[in-house]
Amino acid sequence: MSLAQIIANLPALVVAIPLLLSPVAAMTPVAGLAWLLAVLGSGAAFLCALLLQGAVTSGESFSYFLGNWPPPWGIEFVVDAPSAFTVLVMSGLAFVATLFARTALLAEIAEADAGKAYAAWLLACGGLSGLVMTGDAFNLFVFLEISALSSVILIALGAGRDRRALIAGYNYLVIGAVGATFYVIGVGFIYAVTGSLNMADLAVRIPEVPQTTVVMVGFGFMMAGILVKAAIFPVHVWLPAAYAFAPSAVSSLLAAIATKAALYVMARIVFDIFAGMPEMIGFALEFVLVPLALGGIFIGTILAIYENDIKKLLAFSSVAQIGYIALAFGVSTTAGIAAGFIHIGNHALIKGGLFLAVGAYAVLLGRRINLTQMAGLGRRMPITTTAFLICGLSLIGLPLTAGFISKLYLVRALLEAEMMIVVGLVLASSALSVAYLWKIVEVLWKPAAVIAPVREAPALYLPLWILALGNLWFGVAPAPLVDAAMRAAMQFTGGM
């Protein structure tokens, strides 16, 4: 095959490679081999995503017809600036999380389950990538289910250590299923009035539909479903327990990529499929999404301040950070959407890193930990803790870290849109977030009873340091990320 042919098939490969490797992993009896397959699958997907991003950067944008059936009948995979960007972020983080999983996952699950665990892992990666790549509204539902079911398995794997993982998984199963059902009901309404499922086709047909009420209802259902998946306040309730009780490696995978895919889908629905109905979209963003996002930001931050379980604390912080991304999309200008995409990338780096660090603590100390037990870890595990600190400082937006770039562009977009009150609220919440991070930092360097140093394993801290350095790199030289996010936003707004 020539390079051109490979590139032409990349959109399918990103999704297909992990999906196809998944059953192989399930049948592999040896844990190490299954892990190798997972590395192979996520690595290949990452490579494909890099190539795709390269192609998109040079101005290309292409679509792939599964089975050579052209749309609107067949299923189409679309690669343009937003999808290439999101899939690159997700596959990159998934790759790093997979590297980390080798030691971390086995520490928390039975060795006999490893093959099946990695099968679910690969399914989740492939399913989430599929969510982003697909250009078909119904096919999206299929990927939604694939990723949701595999995530439930992964979360429930935490049961070996804490039975509450089962409840967390069950909650996610039920709430996630409600979300997916809402989404598919919405798709049904839209299909009824347009007769199409292809997104590009829908975007053309929807403005011409005379029954606007049906379109509105369909839109409402689809959005409600996706809000659940993206864990936007107040339908975020599944997220804290799911992240807290899943095995550490799984927490870092899900925290880094799961909600990002849903946020991307939300942007796709709002700015692409329904872009032809600006009044409805404007109303939904201004009176629903922005208030919900702000609610999530404050609720998440405040709950995080009072939380003592470290993984739950980080999960609440995720609710707040997802709020920032949703808020940025809610601004709906090019600058706003770009800020949203920038934070999709940066938050994946930040939260992925933080969960990896917490995972490393849990593995090395051999148990779930809360804040009190973290006392003095800074002195006992300096390598891991320094990386944790870098990611934490990035979370609160210290300059020269990626988080600062996010904050910079978000505030700039809000000022440009003259949303002064929102600017005040965002900055106030950002100052509040220092409180919970500082709570952790103080504990880490507190004089503690136990001071025996812990041997830190490279298999755990190397992936973590990749992300920590990523936080620094994109804080000092953010231009590639910002450019890519800008291009993604311009695709949606037409460069306004």
């Binding site: 000022l415 100052a431 220092v434 000092v476 231009a479």
Partner: protein
């Protein structure tokens, strides 16, 4: 000339950072570790001298590190005012580095390696602030300075230190995130640039009615300038070991605050724009209030370091006042005051710390009669105090003279009255410890353990305060270059 200006710029910024990174590796050999600080300081100072020489010759040393945003670089570009601040921070670091070795050893402090490392990181941030090429870079290192000084403030690991650290962080980080950052972004949005341009960039870019509000966002966003009511963090930070109070909370950190205000007024607003719009009138009165109010509080303090802290708050407002008056002469005075107050106040803190190390006295009421035990220290304190009061032949008299001339120039008779009254208050509360030391009978017998490394630095900086009176020309030239080019 030892190095090219651009090389010197890089050396000046990175020598402190390299020092900080070396310190942990030298931890096992404490002598080598403790030499690293002074050597790093010396290298930094030489670099700062080279950079200043180039600025005086009309050059603009520049280094662009990376692109932060389209049209906005992570760039360093030395302005005349930046040259002044760089020179002050690096020059006083040499003495402070020597002093901190004496203090930490004499006091048997724990975690000396961590202390030395973060001390150097803080100086790195201060140098980067001094030579920053635009407002965003300045903001970046402003934040890093806050974070790098936190481990120094909480060095004692005690409950009191942690509470003080929390107050320190919440005021400095809170104010900068909530007000300074949006102010910076607002300027960026309205003008499309953030670099420092003589004459300012805001004229014609923002409505005149918005100017006072934007200025307020800067004043209350730059918590390090400690204009009331944002001053509380500074007395709280006194819980840190005295070398921190001396170099950082009398020089690098607080001067970074007033330096930022001066940069914003001179290069972002432009003195003329500020004068035309009268946007800073309110600030003149607020700083006057801060000057007098904090002097009054200082009188009530019996703890020597707390008294010095309130004196610092008062003196910082002199600089902000000089910027707010918005005339060329006043701005020159403000820039000079950064230098003169730094030399004077670091002397006072050195003495306070040395007295603590040698006699374990922290209260002014216990200083009675101790002057005869420690004549060199009390002599140095006397000279430093005189300089801050502004009496010739000490450096402080120049900056007071220019500030008063600037106020007279702007027709602000009340400001003249405030400055005179403040000098009287200074005489009262700064000379009081000296007078007690020499003229009152002893109230407490103490055993004095002499540590030469804690005595030499204050004597040196006291001599520097005298020298600055006679050799103020270079700084004057730089300060005037700031407002004219």
């Amino acid at each position: 000339m030892l190095m090219q200006p651009q090389t010197a710029l890089l050396v000046g910024i990175f020598a402190p950072l390299v020092t900080a990174l070396l310190v942990p590796f030298l931890a096992v050999r404490s002598n080598w570790r403790d030499i690293a600080g002074p050597v790093g300081a010396l290298v930094t100072f030489v670099a700062a001298l080279e950079v200043t020489a180039d600025v005086l010759a009309g050059g603009v040393p520049t280094w662009v590190a990376a692109e932060l945003a389209p049209g906005l670089d992570l760039a360093f570009r030395v302005t005349p005012l930046g040259a002044i601040f760089g020179l002050v921070a690096s020059g006083l670091w040499i003495v402070a580095a020597v002093y901190s070795v004496g203090y930490m050893r004499g006091n048997h402090e724990k975690h000396q390696t961590r202390f030395a490392a973060f001390y150097a990181v803080a100086v790195h941030a201060a140098m980067a602030i001094a030579w920053s090429g635009n407002l965003l870079v300045l903001f970046i290192f402003y934040e890093i300075l806050t974070f790098s000084t936190f481990p120094l403030v909480t060095h004692k690991d005690s409950r009191a230190a942690r509470d003080a650290g929390r107050l320190y962080m919440s005021i400095l980080v809170g104010s900068s995130v909530i007000l300074l950052l949006p102010a910076v972004i607002y300027v960026w949005l309205m003008t499309g640039r953030l670099d420092f341009v003589p004459g300012g960039i805001l004229k014609d870019a923002i409505p005149a009615a918005a100017a006072p509000w934007l200025l307020a966002a800067f004043v209350f966003g730059v918590g390090k300038a400690a204009v009331m009511p944002l001053h509380r963090w500074l007395p709280a930070a006194m819980v840190a070991p005295t070398p921190v109070s001396a170099l950082l909370h009398a020089v690098a950190v607080v001067k970074a605050g007033v330096f930022t205000m001066l940069m914003v007024v001179v290069y972002i607003f432009g003195i003329d724009f500020l004068a035309e719009t009268r946007a800073a009138t309110w600030l003149v009165w607020l700083t006057c209030f801060t000057i007098l109010a904090s002097s009054c509080v200082a009188i009530t303090k019996d703890d020597l370091k707390a008294r010095l802290a309130y004196s610092t708050i008062s003196q910082l407002s002199y600089v902000v006042l000089g910027a707010a008056i918005a005339t060329q002469v006043a701005a020159t005075g403000a820039a000079l005051h950064i230098v003169m107050h730094a030399a004077g106040k670091i002397t006072l803190f050195f003495v306070a710390g040395a007295i603590y190390v040698q006699a374990h006295i922290t209260r002014i009421s216990e200083l009675d009669g101790q002057g005869r035990e420690m004549p060199w220290l009390f002599g140095a304190f006397f000279l430093g105090a005189l300089s801050i009061i502004g009496i010739p032949p000490l450096g402080g008299s120049w900056s007071k003279f220019y500030l008063m001339a600037g106020a007279a120039d702007a027709g602000l008779v009340m400001v003249l009255a405030v400055l005179s009254l403040s000098s009287l208050l200074n005489i009262y509360y700064l000379l009081d410890p000296v007078a007690r030391g020499f003229f009152k009978p002893k109230v407490k017998e103490v055993k004095v353990n002499r540590h030469v490394l804690t005595v030499l630095p204050p004597v040196l900086t006291a001599a520097l305060s005298v020298a600055l009176f006679f050799f103020a020309g270079t700084f004057l030239e730089l300060a005037e270059a700031m407002v004219t080019r």
